[in-house]
Every structure is written in C-alpha cells, then in structure tokens.
C-alpha cells in the first residue's frame, strides 16, 4: 500500500473500529480511552504521513505523485481507477484537512466528554475525514465525487447527531437535499466532460483545456455546471440556506465540516479545474458575481444575528464568497490562500464559541452573555486573536489573504473592476464590524446572564484550550507563508493590469482603514452592552427584522418551491398516482378475485359424493373427447 492510500485509509480504520465497537467500548470502564486513542491517533498518524508525502514532493522534481490504489471497473477501452494525485494544491488541502481535523478531534474529546454518543460521534468524524481525503486526493472527478457525496453523508449524520430533536434532524435533511440540487449540476458537468474526453482524470482534462486549441465542448457550460455543484457544497446563493441551519450539529462539527474543510470543497473543485475556467470568462464572471453577492448579503445578515453560532455561520458564507470572488477573477492561488487562513481563524472562532457554549451550559444567545473575558480568559484571548485575524488586523493571516483578494478584485485583468472592489471592501468593513460586535457582546461589557448560568461559568479543560491556543497562533502568523506564490506552478495567477500597480500600496492602507472603521463602529455602538445601538435602533426596526430573518429567503423558498411541491406531491402523486392508479388497480384486482371466488365457492359443497360425481363426469368427458378426437 502506497503512502497516499495510507493517508486515506487510516481514518477509515478509525471509523470501522469506532463504528462497530465504539458504543460498546465507550460504556466499558477503560473503553473510553481506547475510543479516544483510536479516534485521535489515526488522524494524527494520517497527518504525519501527509507531512512525509509533502516532504517527498518538495524533494522531488516538482512532478506530482500519482498512485493507483485499485482498478475500480473497466468498460471497453476506458477504465476507472481509484487513483490518488498529490501535487502542491493537494498537499495544502491534505495538510489542512488532516492538521485542523486532528486538532478538532482532540478538542472534541473534551467537548463531547459527557455525551452518550461518544463512540458514534468519533466514528462519524473519522468517516468524514476519510471521505474528505478521498475528495482532495482523488485523481479523477469520479473519485472526487465519491468523496463529495461521502462528506455530504457525514455532514448529514453529524448535523443530525442529536436526532431526538426533530428540528436538528430536519436541519440535517435540509443540508442533504440542498446539496443534491448542486450535485445534479455537478453530475451533468461530469457527463459532459466524459462525453468529450473519454476520461475523468482531472489533470488530463486540465491539460487538454490548457493546451492550445479549444476542445469540442463549451468551457463555459461545463464551468457553470461544475460551479452549480460547487455552490451547493460551498453554500453560495441561491443554495446557501442549508449552512446556517447546519449549526444544529455539535460545535466542533461546525468548526471542522461547516467552516474549515467540507464547505471549502467547492473552492477546491473550481481551483482544481482552473483549466476550464481560464477558457470560460462567462462562467468566471458568474462565479465572481455570485461570490460577491453571497459575501455581501451574508455579511449584512451576520450583523443582525443574535445566536453566536449563527453569526459565525453567516461569516463563513461571507468568507466563502470572498474565495469565490478570487476564483472568479482568476486568482486561484489566492482563493486557496484565503481557504487556508480561513481554516485556522474560523476553526478557532467556532471552537471558541464551543468553549463559550460549554461554559454557559448550552446557551448561545449573545444578548444574554457579556463580561465573559475575565471568567474564561484563555477562550477570550484566543477568540480575540481569531477575530482580529478575520477582521483583517495588519499582519495577521486574514489581513494578507483578504488584502490579496481585494487587490485582485480591483486590478485583475480577468474581471477585476472598481465596482467589485467596492462591494468586497464594503463586505470587509461589515466583517470587521460584526465580528467585533460579537466580541463585545460576548466577552466585554457587563454580564447579562441569569444568576443560575453565571454561577456555573467555568474555563474549558486543557484538551480544548490547548487546541484553541494552537489555532490562535496559526491564525496570527499563518499569513506569512507566501502560499499563492508557492502554488503558482500548479495554479496560475491572473495578471494585474499594468496601469493599476501604483494603487497597490494605497489599497493596502484602505484595507487597514476598513478594518479600523469596522472596529471603531463596533466599539462605538456595542460598548457598554450595546447602549448606543439600542438607542439608535428604533427607526431601523424594519431593517433589523429583515436582516434577522435572513431576507426571508427560507420563507420565500417555502412559498415558491416547498409548498407547490408539497401540493403536487399531495394531490398529483399521492392522491392520483398512488391512491388512485396504483392502490386502485391493485385493490380492483383483489376485489375481482374476491367476487369471482364468491361465485366459484358455491361449487365447493363439502359433499364428498358430489365431488366424486364431478370426477366421474370429468373422466367420462375426457374419455369421450379422447375417443372422438385422438
């Protein structure tokens, strides 16, 4: 077994062990330790193997490592392999997935300690890692798609982890179904590519697109179809509705799946298939447009939310929008750079939120928090660092990646414009504002908790705070790695327009100013428990309600799609199709049999001699027929 296969298989072993034995083990006296060791040990091992592969890649000539694990099936000339492909882009993704994944596994041992589903939880988490690694390591779109669906499954299982609560189970279903819509587009794109090229190997397809003459397929069509898939997984408008609801899952799951890794799969897909998008300016423009719209609208919604996890969820949507804008203007490496920094600070924020929720015994409403900074100092410091990073405090990771995205949104030769820059800068301002609002309302000011909750506030155990500290450090310094430059051999960067180079330094100062204005605004409105915000709020009550209810998109979907669908199902499919046609025909047959049986049963008199007479008549008739015709 090659090293790449090993990376993928290790979490699978963890899933099998914990999935089959976990629940029984966790109940045994020493079993919990075994579950924990297996669940955390194998991802860490996987991470170490990934580092080994990464070093091999750097030591090598720059050619990607390719490894065929298994020939899946062979149809005529073409064969479908489960093959793994490891280049610089994959390396970055695998290191993020296994690295952040391992950290969150460790954090979970503290967070989920008292939960009855301890073994089951870690089994799902390992299953997720397995599929995610399949997704990023797969060489062909088919293997990627297996991982793609698999992470969807793991996400469904983990969102509905506490399935006794119908609302949480429904959130899981919503995520699953919304993703199916995107997957339909993805599948069509795959069919089209296979039809054209006879292969689904992504490197081959990219090379075919990049090598001169345009292939016999519309790059924009394929690009848009694949992007539909990506927008489902990465929760972009109009398929964004599932992500905020996905916060029903345990908080570490939100950090791992719905912030750091799975939702960035769409970004990875587009970056990986950049060969198509280089030739598809229309598809790229669509991506940039949708990304910008998602980023901006999600940021405005985040301003009005009062649930700590919902704020972070909309912030995730917004940041994913940033990544798609970068993809749309041809700055693929920059998108992956933001993906990488986002994985650190957003994981840190979510885990910090988890620590807060843990401290408050499950309460999530920031209107009933406040003054937590002194009570849970480690959580506060790490959360503050991550907040500064996402808001774009100079020289922290988010500052670098967001600044680069803004620069390319402004100056890229392939779709950059002042308007796009203005929208994204406005979004960055909102980001800074709502993140510091969250920080102020949660940790600063004075306590608005009820007495009972306040009494029980406690700092989280070391397994959680240590992970927070590691992620905070990474959020702070992660941006110094010149990732776009590192990725340039695999992901070409769009050129900036010559005449705009003079603007680079002023734009950086503008980014700093945006951060500062957001911070100042949050300080002005939300210090002293949001006194000023409360005072100026009344004229804006309508706007606030609109934002708090997420522009009523869920309600709109319910009216436009949900209810008509239910009506059609109820009347056409259930009432006519099922009850009338299917049930009707079967019941009719049964009734026919019943009636004819009623007639025929009269022959069965129970009289033995009558039967004998019939036999006699029958035999005689046979005899007569035989004599006559044979």
């Amino acid at each position: 077994m090659g090293l790449l296969t090993l990376i993928v298989v290790l979490p699978l072993i963890g899933f099998l062990v914990n999935g089959l034995l976990g629940t029984r083990l966790a109940a045994a006296p020493l079993g919990k330790g075994v579950v924990t060791t297996v669940a955390c040990g194998l991802p860490i091992l996987s991470f170490l193997v990934a580092i080994k592969c990464f070093l091999d890649l750097l030591a090598g000539s720059g050619a990607p490592i390719v490894e065929t694990a298994y020939v899946w099936t062979q149809v005529g000339q073409s064969h479908f392999d489960i093959a793994f492909y490891f280049d610089r882009l994959t390396a970055v993704m695998v290191l993020i997935v296994t690295g952040v994944g391992s950290l969150i596994h460790i954090y979970s041992t503290g967070y989920m300690k008292e939960d009855a589903g301890y073994g089951r939880y870690f089994a799902y988490l390992n299953l997720f890692l397995f599929f995610m690694l399949m997704l990023v390591l797969g060489r062909s779109l088919l293997v990627l798609f297996v991982g793609w669906e698999g992470v969807g499954l793991a996400s469904y299982l983990l969102i509905g982890f506490w399935f006794e609560d119908p609302e949480k189970a429904a959130a899981g279903k919503k995520a699953f179904i919304t993703n199916r819509i995107g997957d339909a587009g993805f599948l069509l794109g795959m069919f089209l590519l296979y039809f054209t090229f006879g292969t689904l190997d992504m490197d081959t397809i990219n090379a075919a697109f990049l090598a001169g003459p345009a292939p016999a397929v519309s790059a924009s069509l394929v690009g848009v179809l694949l992007f539909i898939g990506a927008s489902g997984k990465s929760a972009q408008i109009p398929l964004h509705v599932w992500l905020p609801d996905a916060m029903a899952g345990p908080t570490p799951v939100s950090a791992l799946i719905h912030a750091a890794t799975m939702v960035t799969a769409g970004v990875y897909l587009v970056a990986r298939m950049h060969g198509i998008y280089v030739h598809a300016p229309e598809a790229s423009a669509l991506i940039a447009g949708i990304g910008a719209a998602t980023a901006f609208f999600a940021a405005t919604i985040a301003v009005a939310q009062t649930d700590i996890k919902k704020v972070l969820a909309y912030s995730t949507l917004s940041q994913l929008g940033f990544m798609f804008v970068a993809l749309g203007v041809g700055a693929y490496g920059v998108a992956v750079f933001h993906l990488y920094t986002h994985a650190f600070f957003k994981a840190c924020l979510f885990l910090g939120a988890g620590s807060v929720i843990h401290a408050l015994g499950g309460k999530q409403d920031i209107m009933h928090m406040g003054g937590l900074a002194r009570r849970i100092p480690v959580t506060f410091v790490t959360f503050a660092i991550a907040t500064a990073a996402i808001a774009g405090f100079p020289y922290m990771s988010g500052f670098f990646s967001k600044d680069e995205i803004l620069w390319f949104a402004f100056a890229s030769e392939r779709g950059g414009s002042q308007f796009l820059y203005a929208v994204m800068a406005g979004t960055a301002l909102l980001t800074s504002f709502y993140m510091f609002r969250l920080l102020w309302l949660t940790f600063l000011g004075t306590s608005r908790m009820d007495h009972e909750t306040e009494h029980h506030v406690h700092e989280s155990p070391l397994s959680m705070t240590a992970v927070l500290a590691v992620l905070a450090v990474l959020s702070a310094v992660g941006g110094f790695l010149p990732l776009p430059h590192f990725l340039e051999p695999v992901l070409p960067l769009a050129k900036a327009r010559e005449e705009l180079h003079a603007m680079e330094a002023p734009l950086m100062w503008a980014a700093v100013a945006v951060f500062a204005v957001g911070l100042a605004g949050a300080w002005l409105f939300f210090r002293a428990n949001g006194a000023l915000a409360d005072r100026v709020a009344p004229p804006f009550a309508g706007l606030n309600r609109l934002l708090f209810n997420k522009y009523y998109i869920d309600e709109l979907y319910d009216r436009v799609l949900g209810r008509p669908l239910v009506w059609i199902s109820e009347h056409a499919f259930l009432g006519f199709g099922d009850r009338m046609v299917i049930d009707g025909s079967l019941n009719g047959l049964a009734r026919l049999a019943q009636r004819s049986a009623g007639v025929l049963a009269r022959v069965q008199t129970g009289n033995l001699q009558m039967y004998l007479l019939f036999v006699l008549i029958g035999s005689l008739a046979c005899l007569a027929w035989g004599l006559r015709y044979v």
Binding site: G606, L608, Q609
Partner: protein, 100 residues
Amino acid sequence: MDKTQLLLAVSFGLFAIGLVGVIVRRNVLVMLMCMELMLNAVNLALVTFAQQGASAIGAVLVFLIFVVAASEIAIAIPIVLLLIRRGRTLDIGAYTALKG
C-alpha cells in the same frame, strides 16, 4: 359370447355397481365396501387379460394387489372409526368440513 367377454362384462358390471354405490350410498362403511368392489373388478379385468398372454405374471400381480388392498383397508377402517368417533354418525352427509 365367449368366456373372456363374459368375464370382462362381469368385471365392468362389478365396477359400475361399486361406482354407483360410492356415489349414492350415504353410509361410510358401505362406501368403503363399494370401493373394494371396484378394486376387485379391476383385478378381475387384469387376470382376464393376463390369461390371454398365457403367462403367470398377471396372477402374481393380482396376489400382490390383494396384499396391498388388505393393508389399505387396514388403514381405511381405523380412519372411518376415528371419523365416527368425532361425528357420532356414519352418514357421509354430516362431514362437510371442505365446504367452500
């Protein structure tokens, strides 16, 4: 009418009497006896035909059939006895459990 024809006629007559007896008589034991009558009619036809071939096989077969018939009746009589114990009557008309 030669001997063979006469014997076959007797055989047919016995069979017809047996058949009519089974169909019209209501007493279970009499029905059983009529069935034996039909069996023996067939036996008679068998030996009659066997005679024509001038071989002993037919006669031997008939003895075997006697043995089988004896064991059959040894089973049939207890069945009838059990039936009577249940229904307290010999009338076949009382047993209509197979009525549809």
